[in-house]
Structure formats: structure tokens, C-alpha cells
Amino acid sequence: MYPANKRIGIQLVAWMAVATVFIVCASVGSAHGRISDWDSAEWIYSPAETPPPVPTHSSDCLVEGGQAILLKDWQPTENQREILITIQRPEAEVPAVVEEPLPEDTETTEPDEGEVVPDEDPFAGEVTVQPDANAALHLTVEAQVTEDAITLRLTRVDPAPGLVQATRMTVHIQWYGLEGTLQFSMLPYGDEVEAESTEELATTEHEIVPDLTPFSVNDTIDPANSLAYVRLNPETKADFTVSLLLGNEALYKVRWSLNDGETYSLLYDSHIFSIAWPYPEGWDGTVVLDFSVALAAEQGPTIAVEATSYPHKEYTPALSSAPVLPQTYVVTGALPATMPMPTRWGAAQVQARGIQRLIKNEQDEYVYTDDTALAAVTTDAGIRLEPAADGVAPVSGSYRMTLHWVWNGISLQEHTLYFFINSQ
């Protein structure tokens, strides 16, 4: 046996050894659990998406939308029980027939008896219409498909000029390599229906400064909403023509309003619109232009205004921070994190729904499954991602969600947003 002081010394040495081993394990273990001393460069590849069909129209009732078309205040009269919508075949979409030589070692195989060989007609198109139960009571949609165009004939079938419930008609189009969905929505109208408040838009109204020029373009820009305010103050009652250009290219899908954003008209297939001056002679008026769905980032449009007996005038507002639609995001670091994007389109507000994560199933197929670990909250700055429950960290990987632009409970437009979470 050792003497007491020697025993104490041995114990002391043993404890020090244990402590040293513990410290080493702790430091090495934590370093081993993460990638240390690294940097990275990232990029996102997006498979080419089929462009959606772009409709032209022949009715003033088509006032909102994009792929979602709002048939606002369509009160059937004898003169307007039908609306014709035409989707022209883009020249670039003419399918080229390419005959590829078969590899030498490839044998041609005959189809089995009874097997259905799909028709490979490159000009084949398909239009399917899916009305909801209520829409069928009010509206029919007939599609006529030719080699050059699809014509959709919308007919009001309800005899009474009243609509008390919102309806929606969905039309799927597959044609000439185009694939897309158009949604026609009719809002209720009548004394009991009021449009959603536009107070938020009204608060961005610019201050009108007296101006002696025939008309002017106010430089009040609201980048968050991609709104420009064009102030017109003619000395005499005059009609104006406004044209919108992006460089030398026409600028489409711009919405314009003569009542401070209470109602909008959307330019589908034209970049020029005429304003019949609605105000008494000598009154100022403001045209609100909404570029939120028309502009790509870092681009600024040119607004040219002409009026009878007044000179041509051009103006380029400094709109540079308005993406068309949110792109793909990579979320790094800890949640919550905000994906910056415009979340309003006029009076419509973005709602994020259905977060899903990409996984590979047992058949080695990629499928999106509902993910409950993440929640998305709409803010003025964008979509904020946060853990659905405290202490539950989302796993890294590929995700997607659906963004809906909702106005009065009607989903005017949908967009699938892909995003990635990279966080330890």
C-alpha cells in the first residue's frame, strides 16, 4: 500500500488524466460533427419550364390577372353575353420534326398486339375545362383548337343579372409545347358586395404639387409595390395615349388605374392604352401604373405620354427593385429566415400554402411530401420561414410551396416557389 500523501498524488494525477481525455474528446467530437474551415459557391439549376399560354382578349371585362383572369362586374346584357379569348400560336413554338438516325445496334421493336401506340402528331392539342359546381350555373366555356390559335368562347348562361357567390372556371391547355392553366373567376356583384378595402394603396398616394405644364409624370415611386404615379393635368379636356416600353421592347402585363388603385385594367397584349379624360376640364388626375408583374429585376420602363395638341413626353422612373415573381431561394443559417419578395399585388395579398419536401421514394422516384416541420408567414418584407414547433429543426434539402395572390378570398394567381434549406 502507498502512504497517504502518495495515494493522494496518484488520485490527483488520475483525475487530471481523465479531465484531459474529456476535454480532448469534447473538442474533437464537436469539430467532427460539422464541416470546419470551408467556403462554398452556390448556384441553382432550373429545368426549362414550358411557357404558359398568353391569352389575348376582346372584352373590357377582363380586368385582372395574368394566368388568372377576373371577369369583374360582367353583368350579362344582350350585347355582351359572350367573351372570346384567343391564344395565338407563338412562332417560336412551331415544332420542328427532327429525324434522328437510330443507333446501329438498336433494333426496332414492334408493339405488342393490343398495345396502344400514342399518336405522335406534333400539332395535337388538348383543352380541358373544369368548372366548379357554382360556375357551371353561370358560365360555359367552349374551346376551338386550330393549327394557329385556340379560341375560348365564354358564355353567360344565367338569365338573371346577378351573382351572389364567387365562381371559378379552370381551363387546362396543352398545345404546341405550351402547357398552362387559365382560371376565370367571377366575383359577386350587387348592392351587398363591396370590393376589398384599398386603404393601403391610398396611403401611398403622392402629394399633388401645382404644375403649369400640360401634363407631368410624378416621380413618386413605391418600389415595394412597383407602383408609379403618372399625374396628368390638362388645361383642356383631352384624351391621352400612354405607351410603355422596356428599351425598344414593348412592356406587357402592366396594370393601370384611374381611381388610385381601387380598380385596375391589365394590358395583356398591348403596351399602349388610351385614357378618355374622366375628369372635368382643368382638373388634375392621377394614373397609377403597377409594374409588379411586368418587370424583371434591374430594369426600368419608359413611360411615354401623348395627348391631343400636347407634345410627346417621356419619363423613366427608377424602378429597379421589383422582381416579376419570386425566384428560387437558398436559406442558410438558423430559422426564422425571411425570403425577400413582394407580397402584395395591388389589393391582393400573397398567401403561402402547402410546404413540401422533395424525397426519393422506394421506387427511386422523386416525390414531394407534405412537410410539417416548417411554417411560412407572410410579412411586408417577404415570406418568413420558421420552425412549426419550438425545438424542431427542419432538415436540409429541397422544398417547394405554393404562393397564392388572394383577393376577396379568390385566388387570382398561383406560383410554385422552390427553395432550399442548408443549415446545420
Binding site: 467532427h32 467556403d39 462554398s40 452556390e42 432550373s46 429545368p47 422533395l358 432538415v395 422552390y418 442548408n422
Partner: protein, 175 residues
């Protein structure tokens, strides 16, 4: 006599104590001064790897990343992680071109990112492309300079079914 001895012993002890105080006192004061002042040495963070410049370009069906390192970085591994959604990673060819009088191409081999690894926890499921030294057949460990390096990705458009995240990692190898 005995008292004299005791007194002289006491005086000697007192003298020693006084001498000790005189010697130790200033040293202790200096020690306290050092303690309350700035620390005598500092811990500097290790120099981190940093990609100084990066640019992705598309040239027809090929996607090219050009990058440079901020500083000369020895003993590094370079690998490309590709998120889930590339159904045939073996159909994707990834090449790292090392600059020089005669540029050298390193081909990458694809593998599934193993579940539970740090890369999996950071990046998620998918594939990792590691660049191989043709001579040794092992993953290349490179001394990266500040010249532009090029990573070329080909065959992605046929192999990727979903939007995919490509992330190039440069990692220092620690012995």
C-alpha cells in the same frame, strides 16, 4: 547568554522577513499591475478559407463556374454537392480545371451523400462529386493559388428533373 541568542535569532528572522518583503513587494505589485492591464498575449483566429470571386455561366448545355481563392490555400479538397432531383448523377460530368502553362483537368466521380454525415446535415440528400487525382486514383488534395479555377458541369439538363442546388465546397484538409 541564552537571551542574547534568542534576541539575535529573532533579529535575524525579522531581517529576513524585511528583506523578503522588500524583494517580493515590488515584484508582486508589478504582477498585480500586469494582471489588471492588457493581457500579455492574444489569441488570433485561424485564417479561414474564402472564395474571393465566383461566377456561374451557361454556355449552351454546359454550366461553368469560375472562382478564385482570396489567398493561397494549401491542402484543400474541392467538391461539388448537387441536391436531390438529379436522377442520373453518373450522366453528369464535372471537371475541375487547374490553371497553369498547361492546364490540368481533374474528373469527378459521383456518389450519394451518406445520411448522417456533416455534409448531409448541412446540404441535405443528393450527390457529391469529388475530384480524383488521375495518378493516385485518390481524391485530389490541392494547393490552391489565387488564380482562376474552372468547374465545368455537363449533362445536367438531361439528368435533372427538379430545380437543383449546386454548391461547390472548398475544404481544408487537417492532418
Amino acid at each position: 547568554m541564552r537571551n542574547k541568542k534568542r534576541i539575535s535569532l529573532l533579529l535575524a528572522v525579522l531581517l529576513l522577513v524585511a528583506a523578503g518583503a522588500l524583494v517580493i513587494g515590488p515584484a508582486y505589485a508589478r504582477y498585480r499591475e500586469v494582471l489588471t492591464g492588457d493581457p500579455a498575449f492574444q489569441v488570433n483566429p485561424a485564417e479561414q478559407l474564402a472564395i474571393a470571386d465566383q461566377q456561374w455561366q451557361q454556355v449552351e448545355d454546359t454550366y461553368v463556374l469560375t472562382f478564385t481563392m482570396e489567398k493561397t490555400s494549401p491542402d484543400c479538397r474541392v467538391f461539388l454537392a448537387m441536391s436531390e432531383g438529379v436522377h442520373a448523377p453518373e450522366a453528369v460530368t464535372v471537371t475541375l480545371t487547374l490553371p497553369g502553362a498547361e492546364p490540368v483537368d481533374l474528373q469527378a466521380t459521383a456518389a450519394t451523400i451518406p445520411a448522417g454525415t456533416p455534409l448531409y446535415r448541412l446540404f441535405g440528400p443528393g450527390s457529391v462529386f469529388r475530384f480524383v487525382d488521375a495518378d493516385t486514383g485518390e481524391e485530389a488534395v490541392l494547393d490552391l493559388a489565387t488564380q482562376p479555377y474552372t468547374v465545368t458541369v455537363h449533362g445536367l439538363s438531361q439528368a435533372a428533373q427538379q430545380a437543383s442546388l449546386l454548391r461547390l465546397f472548398v475544404e481544408r484538409v487537417h492532418e
